[in-house]
C-alpha cells in the first residue's frame, strides 16, 4: 500500500441475494472490492462487513474511510425480492367502482412475461402470479373521467370515506388510489386522495396514501397501478432498510448522503419520493459505467454488452445518451417507470446445451447451470452439458484456476458428457461439437447485437463495443467478429464493472408526464404556438418537481442542470419515440418546427424514411424533465506505459486451444501482471481470478493506461 495515502472518495454497494459486494475507489483511481454474506434482516451489517473485507486490502478500517467518502451509491435486490416473493406491505387499493377486480385480474400479458419464446407459445405453461393487492382489500368508488379529461361521473365522496374505513378494517397498512384517466385530468383522484386523508385523520390514523397522479401520471392504468402499488408495497419497507444503512454510516462518521441507483440511469436520494424506481439497478450500472468511460475516451456511440451466466444484456449509448423505455416490465409486472432500455436474450455463459429430442437440433438454454458451472465441476451434481463445459474442453478456461482456483474442474468428465450428449448423436468429434456450441452461441449474440443496433437506425461501424460481465471477455471476440466496430474495449475489471458503473452515476431526478397534443402537418402558427405552450407548461410543472427533490437534499435550484425532453409520434400511432429536446424552452411556431424536425430525423433512422408519415400530423404524448447536479465520480486509473512486450513474469505458459477445427498452443497470461502498452497477439488467453479474456488466432489486443484492453482483428498467424 502507498505510504502517502490517497483518499478514498467513492463507494459502490451491490447488495445481492447471497453476497453483498462493496467497491471503494481512491482519488488516484485505484479500487478494491469486498465481499460478505448478505443479511436480509439487517443489510447495514452486511455492508459493514463487506466494507471491512474490502478495506483490509488497503489495511484501512471503516472509521478511517467512511468519514472521507464523498459519495456512496447503493444498489440491491432486496426490493425486487420482496416483490417476487410477495412479502410486501398489506396495501389497500381504491379504484373506480366497477373495476374492483381489474388489478387482481392482471393483464393477460402477465401470464407469460419473462418466458422464453417456446414457452410463450406453449399455452399450458402460462400462469399468473398472485396479485400485489388481493381482491379482498380492494374497494371501488363511483367516478369516471373520460379519455379527454372530462369528468363524466363526479366522485361520490361519501363512498370514498366508506372505502377508506373498510380498508382500514381489512388491515390495510397503506392506501393506494388509482382512478381511470387521472393522468389526463387529476382532479377527481386528487380529491379522492384528500378525502381519504381527511377520513384517516378523523379515525386518528397515520397511514400513507399514494395517489397515482402524484407519482406516475402516465397513460395505461395497469402500468400506473402496479407502479404506484409498488411504492406502497415494496418501496416503503425498503426506505426503512436504507434508513438503517444510512444510520450505520453516520455512526462511523460518514458525511455523505446515501444515494440509490434508479431505473432511469441516475441516482436518487433514499429519501426520494419515487423510490419504486430503484427496484432494479444492477445491469444499469454497466451502462452508466460505459458512458463515463466513453466520455473519458471520447466515444459518444457505445454498444454496451454484458454477459453473465444466464443472459446477455445489451444497451446502446448514442451521442452520449442511453434510451429510456417508458412502460417496461419487471418481475412479471407491467410498470410505468422510466427504465434504461436494455435488450436481453436468455443465453449466457452457463446455459445448458441439449439436443432437442424432437428435431435433433442443438438447443442452448433457456435454463442455465448458474453457480454450478457445469458437468466439469463434479461437485455440482450436474450431468447436463453447459457452455462452460465446452470452454473447458477447448482450453478457453483454466480448469485449475476457475474463480481463482476456488474450485477444480474435471476436463475429462466434461469431455465424456459432451461426447455422449452432443458429439456422438451429431456425428462430430468432441472438439467439433464443443466448438460448434460456442460458435452457435456467439453467433446468436452477434446477430442480436447487430439487429438491435440496426433497429435503432445505426450501423455497428458507428460504434465502439464495451464488453464486460464476468463471462463477457470469453465471448467478446466471437460476438464482435466482423461487425466492424470502431473499437472493442474490455475493462480489466470486467467482473466488477456494474458496481463501478453505479458509483459513476449522476445525481439525477427524472419525471415524466403524459400530455396530449395533436397537430396537423399544416397546422397554422397559432396552433403551433399553442402546442408549444402546452409543452412548456408540462416542462415547468416537472421542473418544479425535480428542483423540489434537489432542494430536499440540500441543493439550490441554480445548481441543477435541467434537460427537457418529449415523446412524440405520428398522429394515431401507438408507439412514440423519446426525443431529447433540441430547445430548452418552447414558445414559438419555429420552436414547434424544431420539435417535429428532431422527431422526424429520429423516426427515419429507426424505421426507414419510407415509414415517415408526416401527412398524418404529429402528436406529443409525453413531457420529460431530467435534472442533474454534479457529483464526484471515480477517476480512471492512469498507469505509466511499459512498452509492447509484457514482462516475463506475466507469462504463465502455454495451453492447447481449439478453434476453427484445429488445436494450437495459446499463450497464457496473468491479467494483473500485464502493464499498459503491452501488446498480445492471439492465440492467447489472459486470465485473472474473476474473468478470462480470450484472444484467439486472428485477433490482437493491447492494454492502455486506463487498464482497458482493446481487441482488434488482425491477419491470421
Amino acid at each position: 500500500m502507498d505510504m502517502q495515502r490517497s483518499k478514498v472518495q467513492v463507494m459502490g454497494i451491490d447488495a445481492g441475494g447471497t453476497m453483498t459486494d462493496t467497491f471503494f475507489v481512491r482519488e488516484d483511481g485505484n479500487f478494491v472490492v469486498g465481499k460478505a454474506q448478505s443479511n436480509p434482516a439487517d443489510e447495514s451489517l452486511a455492508i459493514y462487513n463487506s466494507s471491512l473485507d474490502a478495506l483490509s486490502a488497503w489495511q484501512l478500517g471503516v472509521d478511517d474511510v467512511y468519514p472521507e467518502l464523498v459519495t456512496c451509491v447503493y444498489s440491491g435486490t432486496a426490493m425486487l425480492n420482496r416483490v417476487v416473493q410477495r412479502k410486501g406491505l398489506d396495501v389497500g387499493l381504491i379504484v373506480n367502482k366497477g373495476f374492483e377486480q381489474t388489478h387482481s385480474m392482471g393483464r393477460a400479458i402477465q401470464s407469460y412475461l419473462g418466458y422464453a419464446l417456446e414457452e410463450r407459445l406453449h399455452l399450458n405453461t402460462h400462469r399468473y402470479d398472485e396479485p400485489l393487492v388481493p381482491y379482498s382489500r380492494t374497494r371501488g368508488v363511483t367516478e369516471r373521467t373520460d379519455v379527454q379529461g372530462r369528468v363524466v361521473i363526479p366522485l361520490r365522496e361519501e363512498e370514498m370515506r366508506q372505502a377508506t374505513r373498510e380498508l382500514v378494517e381489512a388491515g390495510a397498512k397503506a392506501i393506494v388510489i388509482v382512478l381511470l384517466q387521472s393522468h389526463k385530468n387529476p382532479a377527481s383522484e386528487k380529491r379522492a386522495r384528500d378525502v381519504c386523508r381527511e377520513e384517516l385523520k378523523r379515525l386518528g390514523l397515520d397511514l400513507p396514501v399514494f395517489a397515482s397522479v402524484d407519482y406516475y401520471p402516465s397513460r395505461k392504468e395497469s402500468h400506473r397501478t402496479n407502479t404506484t402499488i409498488l411504492e406502497a408495497y415494496a418501496a416503503e419497507p425498503s426506505r426503512q432498510t436504507l434508513q438503517k444503512v444510512s444510520d450505520r454510516f453516520r455512526k462511523h462518521g460518514a458525511r455523505f448522503d446515501l444515494r440509490v441507483m434508479a431505473t432511469h440511469g441516475g441516482t436518487i436520494s433514499w429519501k426520494a419520493k419515487e423510490l419504486a424506481r430503484t427496484i432494479v439497478s444492477g445491469p444499469i450500472g454497466g451502462v452508466i459505467g460505459s458512458r463515463l468511460l466513453g466520455e473519458a475516451l471520447g466515444y459518444e456511440n457505445i454498444a454496451c454488452s454484458d454477459i453473465g451466466g444466464t443472459s446477455f444484456d445489451m444497451a446502446l449509448i448514442t451521442k452520449g445518451n442511453f434510451a429510456i423505455a417508458s412502460d417496461p416490465d419487471m418481475a412479471r409486472l407491467v410498470l410505468s417507470l422510466p427504465l434504461v432500455a436494455m435488450d436481453s436474450v436468455g443465453a449466457g455463459a452457463g446455459s445448458f446445451v441439449r439436443l432437442d429430442p424432437y428435431s435433433g437440433s442443438l438447443k442452448l438454454g433457456p435454463d442455465s447451470a448458474g453457480y454450478r458451472v457445469g458437468t466439469c465441476w463434479p461437485e455440482s451434481g450436474l450431468d447436463t452439458v453447459s457452455v462452460s463445459d465446452c470452454h473447458v474442453v477447448l482450453g478457453y478456461l483454466n480448469p485449475e484456476n476457475f474463480l481463482g482456483g476456488a474450485i477444480k474442474l474435471d476436463v475429462e468428465r466434461a469431455r465424456q458428457h459432451i461426447k455422449a450428449q452432443i458429439a456422438d448423436p451429431l456425428g462430430l468429434s468432441v472438439e467439433e461439437a464443443a466448438a460448434g456450441v460456442i460458435e452457435l452461441l456467439d453467433l446468436s449474440l452477434h446477430e442480436y447485437l447487430r439487429s438491435n443496433i440496426s433497429a435503432k437506425g445505426y450501423n455497428p461501424t458507428d460504434f465502439v463495443c464495451f464488453s464486460y460481465g464476468g463471462a463477457g471477455p470469453v465471448h467478446t471476440y466471437g460476438y464482435t467478429e466482423g461487425l466492424g466496430f470502431k473499437d472493442v474495449v474490455v475493462p480489466a475489471w470486467a467482473a466488477g464493472f456494474s458496481a463501478f458503473g453505479c458509483a459513476c452515476a449522476d445525481f439525477e431526478y427524472r419525471y415524466d408526464k403524459s400530455v396530449d397534443i395533436a397537430l396537423a402537418q399544416d397546422g397554422d402558427d397559432t396552433q403551433r404556438t399553442e402546442a408549444c405552450a402546452v409543452i412548456q407548461a408540462a416542462w415547468d410543472e416537472l421542473a418544479a418537481k425535480v428542483i423540489e427533490e434537489f432542494v430536499n437534499n440540500g441543493f439550490k435550484a441554480e445548481d441543477v442542470t435541467l434537460l427537457p425532453g418529449y415523446r412524440m409520434q405520428y398522429m394515431g400511432q401507438l408507439n412514440d419515440l423519446e426525443i431529447t429536446s433540441p430547445i430548452a424552452k418552447a414558445s414559438s411556431a419555429a420552436d414547434w418546427q424544431k420539435i417535429t424536425d428532431a422527431f422526424e430525423d429520429t423516426y427515419a433512422r429507426v424505421y426507414a424514411s419510407s415509414a415517415r408519415s408526416p401527412e398524418l400530423g404529429f402528436s406529443v404524448t409525453g413531457a420529460i424533465m431530467r435534472g442533474l447536479v454534479v457529483t464526484q465520480k471515480p477517476v480512471l486509473p492512469e498507469d505509466p506505459e511499459a512498452g509492447p512486450q509484457p514482462q516475463a513474469s506475466a507469462h504463465l505458459g502455454k495451453r492447447p486451444f481449439y478453434r476453427h477445427k484445429r488445436w494450437v498452443d495459446a499463450d497464457v497470461w496473468q491479467m494483473e501482471a500485464l502493464q499498459p502498452g503491452n501488446h498480445i497477439v492471439g492465440p492467447a488467453v489472459i486470465e485473472s481470478d474473476s474473468t478470462t479474456f480470450v484472444v484467439p488466432d486472428g485477433f490482437e489486443t493491447y492494454l492502455d493506461k486506463h487498464r482497458l484492453f482493446h481487441l482488434k482483428e488482425c491477419a491470421r498467424g
Partner: protein
C-alpha cells in the same frame, strides 16, 4: 412501339424453367416419395449440423426482429397491442421456410397466394420483378377473412427469383357492408369488403399511387390502413435485406439447400412430436355452433339467408403407429349464406396456430408440418366451399368452434400416454366481438373492433384449472390491453371490467373464467354497434366429465336515462352483470329503458345513442373431470373471488356453504362429502342403460322429431357425404330407406343444389392442397 420487352419464359428462375413447372416438380417429388421435395436425407444438415443451425438461427432471429420493429409503426391497437401481424419467408415455390411469432395461421395463407400467382402465370403478366409488391386478401384463394391483408415481396439474388417474403396485418376495417374488421349481415363475398387478388401494388419498392388512392377510400379507417401497410412493407424489406446479407455471407447455394431442407426437417419434427406425445389410435370428436339468423335483430339483404342453422364439425384424428397422422372432417355441414365460411387453406394453415400451443410449441415451425399432415376436407363443406359467392368475414366463428374438438382429441391422446399436464379440455369460443362505427369522439368516420376477445378463459388441464381471461385459440399471447388505450380508440366509456362469474366450465378442474366489460356510448354521433359470438349453443364441450364453458348472451340498453341519474347522484350500473338470471343493471337505469337481454349473440348494425349501454362478455373455457371431485378449498376460493355463484357451488359441486358476517364464504368439508354421496345416488337413480337410451333416441330420429336447424344441419352433411350418412344410419340402426333432405324441412334451400366453384371461371387455376 407501345410495348415493353417481355422476359423469356424461364428467365425468372434462371434455370430455363417456369415457376409453374418448377413448382410442379417439387410437388411431384414430394408426393412420390413422402419426403418434401424428395429429400429422403438432409445432406446439408447431416454434413454440417452447426453451419445449418447457424443459418437457422440467423433467419429466425431476423424474422422475429423484423416483426418487433415493424409493429411499432402501426396505429391500430390490433396490430400494436395485440400483435396481430406476422412475417414469413418462403422459398421460390411458395412453401414456408420459417416464420416470425404472431398469427402464424398466415404461414399457409400467404403461401397460397404465392402459389396462386405461380399457377396463374403472374410470371408473364403482370410480371414479377425486383422491387415489386403484391397485395392479397382474397378469401377464395386461401385468406381467412378479408381483414387480414398480406403484402408479398419477391426476393431476388444473383439475378434470379429465390424466394418471397410475406407480411400480414389484421386491419380494423375492410370497407364491408357494415363497419369493423369482421362485420356481419352481408351473406356473400360481394358484401364482405374490399378484396384484392394478388395485385401488383408497388414497383421499385414504392406503393403505386392508384393503389394508395383506391385502397384508402375503399375502407372506413384510412389512417390505420396506411400505417398498417407501411408496417408490412417495412418488415418485408427488413427481411429481404437480411436474406441478401445471408446470401452474401454464406453463398446462394447454401441458402437454397437450406430453404428446402428446413421444410423436410419441419415435417420430421412434427412426426417425432406425435410419436413422443400421443398414443396411436382413432380419436373421434365433434363440435357445433349456432347461426341464429332468423332473429329480427339480424338484418340481411337476402330473404334466403334468414334461417337458423347450425354448423356441424365432426373430426376423426387417426394417429398411426409410424406417427403419421390424418385429420378427417368427413360429415361437416355445408357452407352457408353468412360470413363464417372458411377456405380450406384457412383451415389447414390456421390449425398450426393451435398446434403450436400444444403439440408443437417450437420455433421450428414451417410448411413441413402441413406436408406431414393428411387433411381430408370434403368439397362443399363450410371448411372447403364449392361456390365462389361465399362470405368469410368472420370465418373464425366456425374455426374456433370446430377446433375445440381437436383440443379434446389431442387431450385424450396425451392423457392416454400419461402426459396429464399437456391435456387441455378445449378452447373458449373467442367472442363476443364488440364492433361498430359511426362518428367518433374526434369527429371522424370511424370503425371499432375490440380485441379484448384475445383474452378468454382457457380449457382446464388434467392437473389444474384453466387460466382466467388469458388467451385465444388464435393467439396464445393474447392480452386484453389497457382500458385507457381502448378508450382512445373507441367512443365507449368503460363502466366496469371484471371476471365473468360462472363462465368457466365446472369440473374437478374448472375452465378459466372469461371477463366482461360494460360500455356506455360516449361522445359519439350516428353510432352503431353489433354483437357476434355463440349464444344458444356451446361450441366447446369439456373433457372427462368437465362442463362446457357458459354460452354467451347479450345485454344492451337504450334510453337509459343515465345522463339524469348521474346528474341526480342516483345509483348507476357499474361493474359486472353478476347473475343474468337476476338482472341487476335494470335496477340502475331508467324504468323506461329499452333493454335487450337474451341469447341472441349474433346481431347486425343497430343504432346507439350516447348513454346507451353495451355489455362485452368474453367467454370462459371448458372444464375437466367430475365437478364432484373438486377440492373443497378451490370451491371456497372461487366463491370468495367471485368466480362462481353460490347456487352453482351447491348445485354443481355439491358444496355445503356458509357466509360469515363479513361476507367470507366457507365450505363445510364433512357436510359436502355427505351431500356428494347423495348426488351420486341421485345420478344413479336418474341413469338408464345406454342401449335403452339409444332406442328412445332412435325413435326420435326415425320420426324426425328434432328442431328444423338440427335437421337442416344433418341434411346438409348427408347431402355432401354418403359415407357420413351410411355411418350415421349404421350407428342408429336406421331402416335402409331412411333419409333426410333439406327440401322436406320447409326452410330456404337457396344454394343447396346449385353452386358454381371459382375454378369454373375462365383462365383461373385454383390451388388445391387437401384431399377433397
Amino acid at each position: 412501339m407501345n410495348m415493353l420487352a417481355k422476359n423469356a419464359p424461364g428467365s425468372l428462375l434462371g434455370n430455363g424453367k417456369t415457376l409453374q413447372a418448377f413448382r410442379s416438380e417439387v410437388t411431384q417429388r414430394t408426393k412420390e416419395t413422402g419426403f418434401y421435395n424428395g429429400l429422403s436425407s438432409l445432406p446439408f444438415r447431416e454434413s454440417d449440423p452447426i453451419g445449418y443451425e447457424k443459418l437457422f438461427s440467423k433467419i429466425r432471429g431476423g424474422l422475429v426482429h423484423a416483426r418487433e420493429t415493424a409493429k411499432k409503426i402501426a396505429a391500430s391497437p390490433i396490430v400494436e397491442q395485440e400483435g396481430e401481424l406476422c412475417f414469413t419467408l418462403y422459398n421460390a415455390v411458395g412453401d414456408c421456410i420459417l416464420t416470425s411469432t404472431g398469427i402464424i395461421i398466415h404461414v399457409g395463407t400467404m403461401g397460397a397466394a404465392i402459389k396462386y400467382m405461380i399457377e396463374n402465370d403472374w410470371e408473364s403478366n403482370p410480371g414479377i420483378a425486383p422491387g415489386d409488391m403484391f397485395t392479397n386478401n382474397d378469401c377464395s384463394i386461401g385468406n381467412v377473412h378479408p381483414c387480414d391483408i398480406a403484402t408479398i415481396v419477391p426476393v431476388f439474388a444473383h439475378g434470379k427469383l429465390i424466394g418471397w417474403v410475406g407480411g400480414v396485418t389484421h386491419v380494423i376495417d375492410t370497407g364491408a357492408v357494415t363497419p369493423g374488421s369482421m362485420s356481419t349481415g352481408q351473406v356473400q363475398r360481394f358484401g364482405d369488403g374490399y378484396q384484392v387478388t394478388c395485385r401488383k401494388t408497388g414497383v421499385n419498392d414504392q406503393p403505386l399511387r392508384d393503389w394508395l388512392h383506391e385502397s384508402q377510400r375503399s375502407v372506413r379507417t384510412p389512417k390505420y390502413w396506411i400505417l398498417d401497410e407501411r408496417t408490412r412493407i417495412a418488415g418485408c424489406h427488413m427481411i429481404r435485406d437480411m436474406v441478401e446479407e445471408i446470401i452474401a455471407a454464406e453463398g446462394l447455394e447454401s441458402y437454397e439447400r437450406f430453404a428446402f431442407e428446413v421444410i423436410e426437417e419441419g415435417r420430421r419434427g412434427l412426426q417425432s412430436r406425435i410419436k413422443a406425445m400421443t398414443l396411436p389410435g382413432t380419436y373421434r370428436k365433434v363440435a357445433f355452433v349456432d347461426v341464429p339468423f332468423k332473429h329480427e335483430d339480424v338484418q340481411t339483404s337476402s330473404a334466403f339467408a334468414k334461417v337458423d342453422t347450425i354448423m356441424h364439425s365432426p373430426v376423426e384424428i387417426t394417429i398411426r403407429p409410424d406417427a403419421s397422422w390424418r385429420l378427417d372432417f368427413e360429415g361437416a355441414s355445408r357452407w352457408g349464406w353468412h360470413t363464417f365460411n372458411a377456405h380450406h387453406v384457412a383451415f389447414t394453415s390456421g390449425i398450426w396456430v393451435m398446434m403450436t400451443q400444444t403439440l408443437v410449441p417450437t420455433q421450428r415451425i414451417n410448411d413441413g408440418a402441413c406436408f406431414g399432415t393428411e387433411f381430408h376436407l370434403p368439397k362443399g363443406t363450410w371448411c372447403n366451399p364449392d361456390d365462389r359467392r361465399t362470405g368469410h368475414a368472420y370465418a373464425w366463428h366456425f374455426l374456433v368452434s370446430g377446433w375445440s374438438a381437436l383440443w379434446r382429441g389431442l387431450g385424450q391422446a396425451y392423457f392416454s400416454r400419461g402426459y396429464l399436464e399437456e391435456v387441455n379440455s378445449g378452447n373458449a369460443n373467442t367472442s363476443n366481438w364488440l364492433q361498430g362505427g359511426g362518428i367518433n369522439q374526434d369527429g371522424e368516420v370511424h370503425a371499432v373492433n375490440s380485441f379484448e376477445a384475445s383474452s378468454c378463459g382457457t380449457g382446464a388441464m388434467a392437473i389444474r384449472d384453466g387460466l382466467n381471461h388469458a388467451a385465444a385459440i388464435w393467439n396464445p399471447e393474447g392480452d386484453m390491453g389497457d382500458i385507457e388505450i381502448w378508450e382512445m380508440a373507441e367512443p365507449l366509456l368503460y363502466l366496469g371490467r371484471n371476471v365473468k362469474c360462472n363462465s368457466g366450465g365446472y369440473g374437478k378442474y374448472r375452465g378459466g373464467c372469461g371477463f366482461e366489460t360494460l360500455r356506455m356510448v360516449w361522445n359519439a354521433e350516428d353510432w352503431t354497434m353489433f354483437f357476434m359470438g355463440n349464444g344458444y349453443m356451446n361450441s366447446d364441450w369439456g373433457l372427462m366429465g368437465g362442463y362446457p364453458a357458459a354460452t354467451g348472451y347479450r345485454f344492451e340498453a337504450h334510453d337509459t336515462g343515465l345522463a339524469e341519474r348521474i346528474e341526480q347522484g342516483l345509483s348507476l350500473p357499474l361493474g359486472g352483470d353478476l347473475d343474468p338470471t337476476e338482472p341487476a343493471y335494470e335496477q340502475h337505469i331508467s324504468a323506461a329503458a329499452r333493454v335487450k337481454r337474451d341469447k341472441q349473440c349474433m346481431t347486425t348494425e343497430d343504432c346507439y345513442e350516447n348513454h346507451d349501454l353495451y355489455l362485452n362478455y368474453l367467454r370462459g373455457g371448458p372444464g375437466f373431470g367430475d365437478p364432484l371431485e373438486r377440492e373443497i378449498s378451490a370451491i371456497a376460493d372461487d366463491l370468495n373471488q367471485g368466480f362462481v355463484l353460490p347456487a352453482y357451488a351447491e348445485k354443481v359441486y355439491g358444496a355445503v356453504i356458509a357466509q360469515d358476517a363479513k361476507g367470507y364464504w366457507a365450505v363445510d368439508a364433512t357436510a359436502t362429502e355427505t351431500r356428494r354421496l347423495q348426488i351420486r345416488a341421485e345420478r344413479l337413480q336418474r341413469s338408464q342403460p345406454t342401449r335403452e337410451w339409444m332406442r328412445e333416441e332412435r325413435e326420435r330420429i326415425v320420426t324426425k322429431h328434432a328442431s328444423a336447424p338440427v335437421q337442416q344441419m344433418y341434411a346438409s352433411s348427408f347431402a355432401l357425404s354418403e359415407k357420413f350418412l351410411a355411418r350415421f344410419k349404421a350407428f342408429w340402426e336406421l331402416p335402409a330407406d331412411w333419409t333426410l333432405n333439406e327440401d322436406e324441412l320447409g326452410v330456404p334451400v337457396y344454394g343447396a343444389k346449385h353452386r358454381m366453384d371459382l375454378s369454373l371461371l375462365p383462365d383461373v387455376h385454383t390451388v388445391v392442397q387437401v384431399e377433397e
